[in-house]
C-alpha cells in the first residue's frame, strides 16, 4: 500500500496522457524552428534516429555504470576496499564527490517542496532553475562520474571498439555478422514500452515511454525468445564445436526458464486485467502486485536471474571447460554488443519486475504535481537499482549450479509452482478478490488521446471492506484463505531473513559430519 | 604381527630382512625373479597400502645396466607401519624383462611410467608406459649415470663413490661413450634436413 496524498489522485486521471513519442510529435508539429515544416516522414525519421541513439548511449552508460557499480558492491560485500578506491575517488569520501550533484538536484526539489507544502510562489524562476540545475547536474555527472569513476569502464569499452575484427575461417559470414545485432536488438526493442515515470507538463501528462502498446508485456517476453534465437545462431555460426555445445546449453536453459517467467507475468496480467504496461502500473495504485502475488514475484525473480545468465545460473557462459560458451569466437565490437545486451537485459528484467510487481514509478509524491517528473523517475530508478543490487548480492554468495540441476530445478519445481500460481490468480480474478485490480470497477474512458485516438479506461477503487460486502460466500472464503496463505508466506520469508541476519543456519538439512578417531 | 611374521613372509618369498622395526622395516630381496609372488604374499600378509616405488641407476657397463628399485608399502592392519623393499635388477640386452607390479597395486603403474622414462627400464605387462613427465620427443633418460644434460649446458657425467667413506669407486664413463642428448638431437635434425633437401632435389 502506498500512502498517497489524496489530492494527487488526479494523477491517475489520464485524460491527455501522452508518451514521449507523441509529445515530441506534437512539439515538432508546432514548428519549433521557424519556417521549417516537418512532414510526418521526416519527423518520424528524426524521432526514430534520435530515440535509437539515445537508447544506445543510455544502454552503453548503463553497461559501464552497472559493471563499475557491481565491482564496488562486490568489494563491499566481500569486505575488501580495493574496488572502492577505483579512479581518483575514494568511496569513503562519497560526499566529497557527490555533493555538487546532490546539491544541484536538491535545489529545485526544495523549491518544489516549498511551492507545494508552504504554498509559496516563485513564478517562472522555478522552471528555469529546474532546467539550469538539471543541465548543470548532468555536466557535473559527466565529468565526475563518467570521467573519474567510470573511466575504467569507458576505457574497456573503447578498447573493445577499436579491436581488430576477427572471424573464424569457415564461419558462416552472414550469420556471424548478424548474431550480435540480433542479440542486441531485443533489448533495444523492449525499452520502448517500459514506463520509466510520468511528468505533468503544460496540462498534459507525459509518460517516459516511447510507445504505449496494448501488448507491451508480450513484447518483452517475445524479446527474450528473440535473444534465445540469437544465441543459437551465434553458437552455430562460430564453426566451433565448443561454442555450439555452449550455445545449446544456454538455449536449453533460457527456454526452460522462460516458462515460469511467462507464467508469473501471466499472473500479473490476470491481476491487472491488461497487458499494457502503463495500465499495469496504474492497476497497482491500491496495492503493489507483490503483495497478492508474492509467490509469482519469487518465481519471476529466480527465472529472471536465469534468463539473464547471472550467477548462480551462468554455467553455460562462464563454464570452466567451454570458456565463454557461445561468445568464444567473438571479439571486439561484436563481443561488446553481446556484453551490452547482457547488461541491458539485466536492467530490463529488473525494470520489468519494478513495473509489474513493485508499482513502477509510484511512491509518495513528496514534491507535488510539479515535481512529478523527478519523483516518479526517482522511485522507478530506486526500485530497479534495488533489484539489481539483489542480483549482485546473489552473485556474491552462491556458487554455480550444474546444468542438469538447473533444468531439474525449473521443470520440477518452478514450472509446477508457477502453474499453481496462475491457477490461484485465475481463481482470484474469477472470485473477484478485492486486491486484484482486474476486479475493480472499470469505467470506460471518455476522452480520446488527441494524437493516437486511443481511449484509455480508468479504475475506480473500492476499499476492501466495501468490496468484501459485495462478495458471495465462496468468494469470501477464497479471500480469507488466500490472505492467510499470503500472510504465512510473508511470515516465512521474514522469519528466514531474520534467521539469516542472526547468523544461524538456514539450511534445513543437517551439515555432513565426519567421524572422529 | 611384526616383526617376526614379517620376517617369515619375506623369507618365504625368497628375500632377506635387513631391519625390522615396528614403524619402518627394510628388506632386501636378493632374487627378483619371483617379485610378483613376493608382492602378492606381502599384500595378503597385510601390506595393502602402496606408498612409493622409485629406482636408481647403480652401474652402467657393458654387461648391462644395474638398477636398484625400492618399493615402500604400509600395512593398515598393523598401524600403517612401513616396509621398504629393495632389490637390484640387471637389464641386459637378452635378459628377462622386469615384471610389472601394477597388477598388484595399481598405483605402482604410475611410478613404473616414471621409472621407465627416467631410467629406461621397461616393465613387461604394463601397457601404459607412455612418458609421464617428459616430452614425447625427449631423447635420453635423465636419471641415468651416462646422461649428460641438455643443449643449454653440458654437465659432467655423474661419478659415484669418488668420496671417502664409500667402498669402491665406480669409474665415470669416458667422453666417447657418453650419450649426449643434445648432439643426438642435432644429428637427427641435420639428417632430416639433408633427407628433405635430397628429396627436393630429386623431385
Amino acid at each position: 500500500m502506498i500512502p498517497l496524498i489524496p489530492a494527487l489522485q488526479q494523477v491517475y486521471d489520464y485524460q491527455d496522457a501522452l508518451t514521449v513519442w507523441e509529445a515530441l510529435r506534437v512539439w515538432l508539429n508546432t514548428e519549433p524552428i521557424h519556417g521549417w515544416r516537418f512532414t510526418p516522414f521526416w519527423s518520424n525519421a528524426l524521432m526514430l534516429v534520435s530515440a535509437l541513439i539515445f537508447i544506445f548511449l543510455f544502454e552503453l552508460m548503463l553497461t559501464v555504470g552497472i559493471q563499475i557499480w557491481e565491482r564496488r558492491v562486490l568489494g563491499r560485500m566481500q569486505q575488501r576496499w580495493g574496488p572502492r578506491l577505483l579512479g581518483d575517488i575514494n568511496s569513503r569520501q562519497f560526499w566529497r564527490v557527490f555533493w555538487p550533484i546532490v546539491a544541484l538536484l536538491a535545489f529545485p526539489a526544495v523549491l518544489y517542496g516549498l511551492e507545494y507544502w508552504a504554498k509559496l510562489d516563485f513564478g517562472k524562476f522555478v522552471p528555469y532553475a529546474t532546467i539550469a540545475c538539471t543541465f548543470a547536474a548532468f555536466g557535473v555527472y559527466l565529468i565526475y562520474v563518467c570521467g573519474w569513476l567510470w573511466r575504467q569502464g569507458f576505457a574497456d569499452a573503447l578498447k573493445l571498439f577499436v579491436k581488430e575484427d576477427v572471424a573464424p575461417l569457415n564461419a558462416d559470414r552472414f550469420l556471424f555478422f548478424i548474431a550480435p545485432a540480433l542479440a542486441y536488438l531485443p533489448s533495444l526493442l523492449s525499452w520502448v514500452v517500459i514506463p520509466f515515470g510520468v511528468a505533468a507538463v503544460a496540462g498534459h501528462y507525459i509518460y517516459y515511454q516511447l510507445a504505449n502498446l496494448n501488448v507491451g508485456l508480450l513484447l518483452i517476453v517475445a524479446d527474450f525468445s528473440l535473444f534465445l534465437v540469437a544465441i543459437i545462431i551465434s553458437g552455430y555460426a562460430s564453426n566451433n564445436k565448443y561454442a555450439l555445445i555452449g550455445a545449446m546449453r544456454e538455449a536449453a536453459e533460457l527456454l526452460t526458464y522462460e516458462v515460469p517467467m511467462l507464467m508469473s507475468l501471466l499472473c500479473v496480467a490476470l491481476f491487472a486485467g491488461t497487458l499494457n504496461l502503463t495500465e499495469i502500473v496504474q492497476a497497482q495504485t491500491r496495492t503493489w502486485a507483490i503483495l497478492p502475488l508474492l509467490p509469482a514475484f519469487v518465481i519471476f525473480f529466480i527465472a529472471a536471474i536465469a534468463e539473464t545468465n547471472r550467477p548462480p545460473f551462468d554455467l553455460p557462459e562462464a563454464q570452466n571447460e567451454l570458456l565463454g560458451g557461445f561468445v568464444v569466437e567473438y571479439s571486439g565490437l561484436r563481443f561488446a554488443l553481446f556484453y551490452v545486451a547482457e547488461y541491458a537485459n539485466i536492467f530490463l528484467v529488473c525494470a520489468e519486475m519494478t513495473v509489474c510487481f513493485l508499482g513502477g514509478w509510484q511512491g509518495p509524491m513528496f514534491l507535488g504535481v510539479d515535481g512529478l517528473w523527478l519523483t516518479s523517475l526517482f522511485w522507478f530508478m530506486l526500485k530497479t537499482y534495488a533489484l539489481i543490487w539483489c542480483f549482485i548480492w546473489v552473485r556474491a554468495t552462491m556458487p554455480r549450479i550444474r546444468i542438469d540441476q538447473i533444468m531439474f530445478f525449473s521443470w520440477k519445481f518452478l514450472v509446477p509452482a508457477s502453474v499453481i500460481a496462475v491457477a490461484v490468480s485465475a481463481t482470484g480474478v474469477a472470485y473477484r478478490h478485492p486486491w486484484f485490480s482486474a476486479n475493480q470497477i472499470w469505467q470506460a474512458g471518455t476522452h480520446a488521446n488527441e494524437i493516437t485516438g486511443q481511449v484509455l479506461g480508468e479504475y475506480k477503487l473500492l476499499s476492501t471492506a466495501e468490496a468484501l460486502s459485495q462478495l458471495t460466500l465462496p468468494e469470501r472464503a477464497f479471500f480469507w484463505l488466500y490472505s492467510a496463505f499470503l500472510v504465512a508466506a510473508a511470515a516465512f520469508l521474514i522469519g528466514l531473513a531474520w534467521r539469516v541476519l542472526k547468523s544461524r543456519r538456514t539450511h534445513p538439512l543437517p551439515r555432513r559430519e565426519v567421524t572422529w578417531t | 604381527m611384526l616383526p617376526e611374521a614379517l620376517a617369515l613372509a619375506v623369507r618365504q618369498a625368497g628375500g632377506e630382512a635387513l631391519l625390522l622395526d615396528s614403524r619402518h622395516s627394510r628388506a632386501l630381496i636378493s632374487d627378483a625373479s619371483a617379485l610378483v609372488d613376493i608382492c602378492r604374499n606381502l599384500q595378503h600378509a597385510g601390506f595393502t597400502r602402496y606408498v612409493d616405488f622409485s629406482g636408481e641407476h647403480l652401474e652402467h657397463g657393458g654387461e648391462g645396466d644395474v638398477f636398484a628399485l625400492r618399493l615402500t608399502l604400509r600395512a593398515p592392519a598393523h598401524g600403517h607401519s612401513a616396509l621398504t623393499l629393495k632389490w637390484k635388477f640387471r637389464l641386459g640386452a637378452d635378459g628377462p624383462a622386469h615384471p610389472t607390479l601394477s597388477k598388484v597395486w595399481p598405483g605402482a603403474g604410475v611410478a613404473e611410467r616414471e621409472i621407465f622414462e627416467m631410467l629406461g627400464l621397461p616393465f613387461s605387462g604394463n601397457d601404459n608406459l607412455r612418458p609421464l613427465l617428459l616430452d614425447e620427443q625427449f631423447i635420453g633418460n635423465p636419471l641415468r649415470l651416462d646422461f649428460v644434460g641438455s643443449a643449454r649446458g653440458r654437465t659432467a657425467p655423474r661419478t659415484r663413490g669418488a668420496y671417502e667413506g664409500e667402498g669402491g669407486s665406480r669409474a665415470a664413463p669416458t667422453e666417447g661413450e657418453a650419450f649426449n642428448a643434445a648432439d643426438e638431437l642435432e644429428r637427427r635434425y641435420q639428417a632430416g634436413v639433408i633427407e628433405a633437401l635430397r628429396k627436393e632435389a630429386t623431385g
Binding site: L74, M77, Q78, Q79, K241, Y242, P311, L315, A318, Q319, N320, E321, L323, R395, A396, T397, M398, P399, R400, R402, I403, D404, Q405, H507, R511, R512, V514, T515, W516, T517 | R23, T48, R49, Y50, V51, D52, S54, E56, R70, T72, R74, P76, H80, A82, K86, W105, P106, G107, A108, V110, M118, L133, F147, T155, R158, R160, G161, E164, G165, E166
Partner: protein
Amino acid sequence: MTRTSDRRVERRYDPLLTEPVVVSIGPQHPSLAAPLRLTVLADGELIERVTPEIGFMHRGVERLCQQRPWAACAGLLSRCEWLSGSCGDYLLSAAVEELTGIAPPPRALWLRTTVLELSRLASHLFWWGDLGLELGAITPIFWGLREREGALDLLAMLSGERYHHGYIVPGGVRHEPPADFYPALAAYLARLPKAFDAYEELFSDNAIWVNRAELIGVLESEHAMLSGASGPVLRASGVAHDLRKDAPYAAYSEVEFGVPTGEHHDALDRYRVRMQEMRESVRILSQCVGRLAGPDAVPGIVRRSELPLAVGELKPPAGEVYVALEGPRGELGLTAVSDGGPCPVRMHLRSPSLYHLHLLDELCRGYLLADIFVIYASLDIMVGEVDR
C-alpha cells in the same frame, strides 16, 4: 567399486549412434592453478574417460638434487610444494638427521610443529578459496586468502620468507623466533575459529554446493589404498590413518588432536575432512604456543651444532632412508640415498598428488562434465609436486 547410492549415470542405449567428443582442458586454463592437461572423452555430458597429461612444470628436481649439496636441496624440495613451504625443508632435515643419527633438541621439535601446522593452515585456506572459485563462488577466494595472509605474515616473521622458509634445517630450526611472534600467533589463532564459522555459514551450508558435491567422486577405501591415496583423500574414504598419529614426528606424539574421517567417501566428505583439519590445526597450534611461550615452556637450544649449516659442509654418512610427513595433501615422502659425499646420490620425492591425479580417471567416470572440477578441487592437486 560402484555403490548403489552414488550418482553415476549408466550409459544408455543410443540409437542415434552419436560420437563421443574430446574436450581438452588445459594446459592453460583459468580454472587450473598450474599447467595441467585433462583430455576428457565425453558422450555429451557423460564422462567416459579422463586422461591427465602432466609434465608441463617438470623441472628435473630429482636430477638437480644430485648435483647440489645437501643443504641446497631444501630449496628445490620446497619449491615442489610451495603452498606449504616448510614441508620440503622438513623432509630434507629429517632425512639428514636419520642418516647421521642426530636428533634435534626438544624445543626445536615444538617449533617445527608450529611451522608445519602454520604451513598446513596456509595450504588449506588456499585450497578452500580455490574450491569456491572453481565452482563460481567469488567470495571464498578473498576470505581464504585474507586468513592465509595472517599465516604467511607469521612465517615471514619467523624466517623472512613467505613461501620457501628455510627455517627448518638439519639439526633443528635456524633460530629462536622473535619475542613478538608468540603474541602475534595467539592473536591469529583467536580470530581463526570465527573466520571458519563464517566460511561454513557462507559455503558449507550452501545447498547448491552440497548438491554439487554429495555422492560425487566416490572413492572406496580398498581402491584408495591400492592406488596410493593418502592424507585427506584416504581419510575421507574411511581409512583412519594420519602419519602424525601412526608414525609421530616432530612433537606430534605430545599433542592432542583428532583425526576426522568420512563415511560416504565422496567429494563432500573430502571437503568436510579438510575443514575439520583446519580447526584441528588451530587446536595443535594453541598447544604449541603453550609449550613454547607459556609457563611450562620447553627450554633449551633450538639447533644441534653438530650438523653444519654452511652449504657444502654437510656430509651425512652413507646409507639410504625414507622419511615421510603428513603434508596437507597426503603423505609427502623423501627417499634419500647418500654415499658420504657433499651431494646426495639419489633423492626421490614421493608426491601424494601424483597418485590422486591418476585416480581422477576412475573417480570421474559416469559423472557429468561439470563434476570434473568438483572432484579435482576436492582432491587438492598440486601440480608442482606432481611434476617435480
